[in-house]
Symmetry: C2
Subunit: 378 residues, 2 copies
């Protein structure tokens, strides 16, 4: 049963499949200038052996964060920690949150919920509740920490600057910690206002999970970062020391060079690819009246499709996978109310255009079959 | 206070220090053939984009495990999982052990205890209890899992084949799970008998933590592996999916090529370097009657020194660090009885010879000062 598996387990089935549009990892071709960096791998390796680690780390963090508008990130203050990945960062954060009661965004990628709920009690809040800063009594009275994914995966919803400002004031007033997972920020310039300027100005206690792993097709050569307010420095530092001494200076250098390339036009090219792939899907589905793209304004590297009332995502998933085409059914994103995701599938967009085109061709062929099966009651 | 910090926090202080003999990570120069591999980084990157991931993974795991004598490791059976590092592997294992009561080796590196004790109740057992398979009533009656580091860090103690065989029978009889952390196996051929042949033959439930990160000076480009018996496959697979989709195929290829180089003479050269560094220390300390090397027969890449009864390791540590020389005081290895480590320091040996020589020179100079301070009662 696909409903027994988590999203990563479903994504793992797609590794090596003919057509993998399941995971949100970047699998498009490298650009010309990215290829040039790969040619410099040996130089970067030898260079990072000669340099002082803390300087390499500071330069990489600065390059990455400023390329995405985060000029006030506390790099100089030593409050940005490098981690193997955003998921390992989330595991460390979960341990640092021991004793808290966490309200977290619903829906969102299921491993965040899986990691947090193993360590702390978790309750849910919606995108609109966060946008309007109007929470349920449970969240308002019981939560000591809010955990928000922005841009959200899979919806593409973004926390605006004014909402973040309001949220900071709310958290300060109520004595709550604010945690943001901004792993998909690189795709959406609306999420690239300086979050740290807002956070530091208001003085709220915060932890941010940053991720380099969604942007560049580097075969999982990536890092995560944990950026924290002063009040969380010691806890996060200590919890992180259970897991690692330092990350690789070679990987830090990759992050620096790819960030500089991103700032010099690379991110624009990436945004164009994602936008073109999304448009290809929207245009193609124009012909199917009962299939909708619910998040028209999303910019992140995944896209949801809403299937007709009568068609369960699991059935579509099964049909597609039997033909070597992998996407994600969306129940698991809705960790509190799976039924809300029962008619949604998620398609990865960080792919070459021909992969998306091939998906659309297969999807159009498969669709009548699914409908037919339904009609015949099988 | 150094006693408030864990070992990794102490190691972190040594990153960038003049003389870092604190952490057990490999920091020696690369050999000629290792340098040749670095020159091939771009080729390895492009090659791994073209290949099927599962084949790259299987080849890397096979090359690494067979180079270290582990021919019966369940690679083909799909029961070896790749992880970012051995510590992340331990975090995943801890989650897979939920509901267990774990007896673990004392002393051993403190992050293993920190990770496990956050998730499961932990009790202690000693090297001699394990070697003789003669446990305390508490371990015998209450533990549902034994967790053993072999070779052990910091002592270099090794679980022999006959002890492993006896242990497997004991665990089978008592219905206990056997977990081994074999991160330092690569340094000691006495730990390179085929553990998996024993484990699989007896049919005991097991989980092994393997680590590529101690052997090659690759600036933290490394992987961990979790190898499991059939009964643990599903649990570990599921817990791992909270943390990662796949590791990097580029890193898997590095592991493959460095393993082949190790099997073709690289490991012998590494063993020679560690042995020479250890001998340099033993010889130099011959002149100091009251300083002992307690683990004369150890082969791993760290070496303990036992200080005189009157000299606390923390005092020696403080004196040395004030001169830019970093080692580890050993209290924290003794997670149950810190006092047992109060007169021990640990010195890293995976360093260039001149680093060890420089340490010895500094240590000889510092030693009289420490003694003097003691004499004057300050």
């Amino acid at each position: 049963m696909t409903t027994d598996l988590n999203l990563t387990e479903l994504e793992l089935r797609a590794i090596g499949a003919e057509l993998n549009l399941a995971d949100g990892h970047p699998r498009q071709d490298l650009t010309k200038s990215q290829c040039d960096v790969v040619a410099q791998f040996p130089d970067l390796f030898w260079f990072s052996r000669q340099q002082i680690f803390s300087e390499i780390e500071r330069k990489a963090q600065t390059a990455f964060l400023t390329a995405l508008g985060q000029h006030m990130a506390p790099v100089q203050a030593g409050r940005v920690y490098s981690v193997y990945s955003s998921s390992v960062a989330t595991m460390v954060l979960a341990n640092a949150l021991r004793g808290h009661r966490v309200a977290m965004l619903h829906p969102t990628f299921d491993n965040i919920h899986a990691i947090l709920s193993k360590v702390v009690p978790v309750m849910s809040m919606s995108e609109s509740e966060i946008a309007e800063i109007r929470f349920s009594d449970e969240v308002d009275k019981q939560a000591t920490c809010l955990f928000i994914t922005t841009p959200n995966n899979p919806t593409g919803w973004v926390l605006t600057q004014s909402a973040l400002e309001g949220l900071c004031c709310y958290c300060l007033r109520k004595g709550k910690v604010l945690c943001l997972d901004v792993s998909f920020r690189g795709f959406d310039i609306r999420a690239q206002f300086d979050h740290y300027a807002v956070l530091e100005r208001t003085g709220v206690e915060y932890v941010l999970v940053e991720d380099t792993g969604k942007l560049w097709p580097l075969q999982e050569l990536k890092l995560g970062f944990l950026a924290v307010s002063e009040g969380f420095r010691e806890k996060v530092h200590h919890c992180l020391s259970d897991v690692l001494l330092t990350v690789s200076p070679f990987l830090l250098q990759l992050v620096e060079v790819f960030s500089l390339d991103g700032a010099a036009g690379g991110f624009e090219r990436l945004h164009a690819l994602i936008a073109e792939n999304r448009k290809m899907i929207v245009d193609a589905l124009d012909g199917f009246e009962d299939i909708k793209v619910p998040d028209c304004d999303a910019r992140i590297s995944v896209c949801r499709l809403q299937l007709p009332t009568s068609l369960q995502a699991e059935k579509a998933y099964k049909f597609l996978t039997s033909r070597g085409v992998h996407v994600l059914p969306c129940r698991q994103f809705y960790w509190e109310r799976p039924e809300d995701g029962a008619r949604l599938i998620r398609i990865a967009l960080a792919r070459n255009k021909k992969v998306v085109a091939e998906f659309l061709s297969q999807f159009s062929m498969v669709l009548p079959n699914i409908r037919e099966t339904r009609a015949s009651g099988r």
